[in-house]
Symmetry: C2
Subunit: 84 residues, 2 copies
């Protein structure tokens, strides 16, 4: 549920931006990212299969429902790409 | 060097798209991703710190210059995000 994900994504905006466009050089854009990819990465951070100081802390308390909602929210953001 | 990175990124387009917009549900958009982030991730795949069947194979032969060029290329793609 993207709307629920938007609420839950409040904590993400500091690094990943309110619109999913990264605010930090070492944080990725999450805008429009495919749901399956986001779910896989959040679960990897939660399990420790993927390691990042910040994301390990963020992901640990997330439920599967939280993860699905967050992924739905970021996937719902429309992105366009223009090649130089 | 983004231009050199564009050439080297030919192999990436199958999954990540010619414009960095993912073609697969479990592959991320790379369009506009911050250079530092892309460099970190490619080096993590190369060293095995981050694991993915496909990306481990792709990253293993890359030189530091290749990685810098690829990151410069993807960062050079302009992205816009529209929140629903």
């Amino acid at each position: 549920d993207a709307a629920a994900g938007k609420e839950k994504a409040a904590v993400c905006t500091t690094c990943h931006g309110a619109d999913g466009i990264s605010q930090l050089p070492n944080a990725p854009h999450l805008a429009g990212q495919p749901e399956v990819y986001v779910v896989e990465q959040l679960k990897a951070y939660r399990s420790g299969a993927r390691k990042n100081e910040m994301m390990t802390v963020i992901a640990q308390p997330l439920s599967d429902q939280d993860i699905d909602d967050l992924a739905a929210w970021f996937a719902s953001i429309q992105v366009t790409a223009t090649v130089p």
